[in-house]
Assembly symmetry: C2
Homo-oligomer: 309 residues x 2
Amino acid sequence: MLANTILIIGTGLIGGSFAKGLKQRNLIRCAIGYGRRYEQLELGIELAVIDEAARDLPQAIARADVIVLGVPTLTVADYLDVIAEHRKADSVVTDVASVKGEIAHVIREHYGVIPPWFVLGHPIAGSEKSGITASNSDLYVHHKVILTPEVDTDENALALIRALWEGVGADVVCMGIDEHDRVLAATSHLPHALAFSLVDCLQAMDANVDVFRFAAGGFRDFTRIAGSHPVMWHDIMLANKSAILEMMGEFKATLSNLENAIENDDSDTILAMFERAKASREHFAGLIDAASSTESNAAKSADLSKDKN
Amino acid sequence: MLANTILIIGTGLIGGSFAKGLKQRNLIRCAIGYGRRYEQLELGIELAVIDEAARDLPQAIARADVIVLGVPTLTVADYLDVIAEHRKADSVVTDVASVKGEIAHVIREHYGVIPPWFVLGHPIAGSEKSGITASNSDLYVHHKVILTPEVDTDENALALIRALWEGVGADVVCMGIDEHDRVLAATSHLPHALAFSLVDCLQAMDANVDVFRFAAGGFRDFTRIAGSHPVMWHDIMLANKSAILEMMGEFKATLSNLENAIENDDSDTILAMFERAKASREHFAGLIDAASSTESNAAKSADLSKDKN
């Protein structure tokens, strides 16, 4: 058992799956959930995601050894004061926001600093599903969780958060805030921007029915992420604006190189680029597959978990 | 039985799978294969892809009721004269090139016109595998095949080619050459260009190991097609240059709109775009899924076929 009482503020897919995973593995004694809709929390108790549903947030905060902010980035600020006021002296707080720079900024605005007891984190996982009913205790198995501790982050606080994530099966990595935001811009935010743009571009075309009718060979996967939650992705685009705009610029430059090469029948450039891309893709295929296959594993485990529960 | 003798010039995945599918369903009496490497053809006989391996191309042409040009776009021209010289008067010729405008141009250059006995076609199917050993008799089940007949295309020739493709399970659609090339530019060629560009862009980044290490959530699928055959895609980019450059321009404009909206914190524009994309994606999900799910079905059937053979 790693901690006694954990409080999940915002029991969506991310926070809910974390709680469920910890409970199932007996890593915590009691999981309290707090969220906007009480009936959802009650459902969460039935689904063994949490043990209790909090009505009184200050009280719940005062009981917690670990507090997880599972709410969207833009609402984290709403909880910072009540947490600071009621938390136990030795409790640890963490978050799950996909952009760390913005959260760090919000926290500094509220507290003046990032407190030693606040460990910024980002579990790289998820699915198109959402909400407490989608909670999956194996969601994080073999998934990466990035923690972005500061110089002043308390070592024990960091160690505890790391242990909790590792406890539910995640691979935990530490890196700097800016590095995190750049890596995520490249591997997640930009691809989403491209997928949204591609679908938007095609739906505007004449005969778009035919366009989608003849979609095949990867198009579905390419655009699947364009079915992602618009509000969440709007928030991410603005929260990670600087890194995303930088990546967009790099991408447009690369695409323009290809465009010019095609225009000029420049076979050498086209071939070199495609061969370089294929080589990279294959070189890193092992890494990419390892990161991605766990999604299907988690989905299978989710089915098994449902049966068990 | 739809035809007596079929000649496949270029027994790669596409031509080989067509032959294998026709043979397995007893739609033709005899399939002759012709290709650069005789030992591959012999392997094709063992694998029940073809019945005979041709050493003498003119002789094989003279025997054929149907000739399928399964060779890459840029080599089709090499066969046009020998076909015209030795073909039976009532034989039908078809191709499988993914860009129709370029092939039409090549054919007109050679013959002055597109002959009534030449039915241009494009089976939209494939996988990362290649070669005669990858031939799969169910590759085309529920896949689209686009035929682009001209005004002068012989009706019976068209009907025969249609029947052969439908015989191996494909859904056959007719459309104009330009329309075909635009649809393919949008749904296949541009996504490939984007995937190649994304991977090339990322591999050039500092710390690219980290970049690929943290790839998750759709990145693999997004970039899977960047593992496609560089030469084949080089050929396609140049063969469909005009439609591809047009699509690239449209795409870059859409991406720039998003870029500007992010730069200007223009929430309304960002949200509208993402919601539009999500709505389209879901509206067309049925079509896209139907087009794509057959890939996995075909793969499963391929395993079954292997056992049968």
